[in-house]
Amino acid sequence: HLGVTPAILRARYNLTAADVGSGQNNSQAVAQFLEQYYHPADLAEFMAMFGRTFPHRSEVDRVVGTQGGGKAGLEASLDIEYIMSTGANVSTWVFTNPGRHESQEPFLQWMVLLSNMSDLPWVHTISYGDDEDSLSTAYMMRLNTEFMKAGVRGISLLFASGDSGAGCRHQGKDKNTFRPSFPASSPYVTTVGGTTFKNPFKVTYEVTHYISGGGFSNVFKMPDYQASAVEGYLKSVTATLPPQSYFNTSGRAYPDMAALSDNYWVVSNRVPIPWVSGTSASTPVVGGMLSLINGQRLSKGLPALGFLNPRLYKLKGQGLFDVTEGCHQGCLDEQVQGKGFCAAPSWDPVTGWGTPNYPALLAALLS
């Protein structure tokens, strides 16, 4: 193949043409913050080009906020086109938060909005993050509480793990540490990392995408649900672990899972664009599949998945393809020589538990 399209994703993750939403009582959303607007014509063109093999929708059901005019943003185009490709035929919303006043913070506006709407989509994917060290602890702690508020309502929040691997923060001469990203590092969201095909031109097994964000929070302590998995990783990969001065072994570790994040095709401003990469791509892909699972659960009278991590970590990789090859990037210095963490059997801070094998994940999450 010549890049990742919905058909390639659906083939890799074993989604058949019948694995689409039934359209009842289920919805999903993407949130945009940077005056990133999707264009309905792009979505229609994308689906006409790439959506022929599965039933799908070609229109967004609801835009919350002001849908701007002018040029479409690549990010918005990517998010909406791919959540509607794996979460096909599921009612889809776009939250667009450009910040009406010059003093507004778009991300905060979105969080406030969630506290004011009683009926929300069950799954939200967000491809946005900042370095933890650029944000105040007071702000992150409060947002973490806001994520809890969403989770307790049964809403699944998925965040991209970032595109800088373990990241790198220079702390003076010859002293570097890895640089975690927030909200990816919040213990109350599900964070999605990235992979690439072993053979970029075939639907093969997946290996680590070197950009995949991951690591350990310096702000949030490790939640109980992941303690055993992370401990297992730290004990099993001692030979490839970076020096402990680079990361906080007692912090919230991320990502939680992953999906392909390399070589996507996106239609933006009516132009099909190849070679689009980032965990911005993998996050809506996972979000769409969780929406399908929610649809199946709701049709059986079960509640929505809600905050997934406690259940995901109890599955111990069941329903997922384990990614065990490759490392992501870290600091370019003598000690770690550009390397961050490496993937390993079971959970790892590059690809989490792995990538979805849809029918197996559905079976695991339907019980």
Binding site: H101, L108, T145, W275
Partner: protein, 174 residues
Amino acid sequence: SSGYLEYDQDVLLPKDWTHVGRVDPSEEVELTFALKQQNLELLEETLRLVSDPGSAQYGKHLSLQEVASLVRPSELTQKVVRRWLQAHGVSNCRTVRTQDFLQCTMTAEVAEVLLPGSRFHRYVRDRRSIVRSSAPYSVHEEVHQHLDFVGGLHRVPPREKDVRVKHRPSKGEV
């Protein structure tokens, strides 16, 4: 010592934002006041129970109304914050269903009096213009304990999100 306290704040603006100048005192700013919530330990425990498949509470999610009942700021917190705002002539506010955020519009002049230390400037990057404070703000100690932070002063939108279009690598680069 003056009766005002600061929060932990992220004041430094990324260098790619260009300073344009001080905003006119009459210009409006919108600030978001994050009121201290109640029962956060119970919220965390409830989230654990409704998300843990081993719990009898698994999947028993709360409605927004139930979340509001749980975390809604105390009467005292709401009264103290509203009285403080009103004392500074700030009345154009709206709240949310959980009553833990107040979004208020006021002039920059009023905001700088309300939040001593703050100084509002305009910055631009590409075609985007924002108004932010170049200095940390403080609030009166009587109010400090009733707020988590005030939004709209420091954080700026990032340049890019987590997406990139890469160029096809040449054979040499490969």
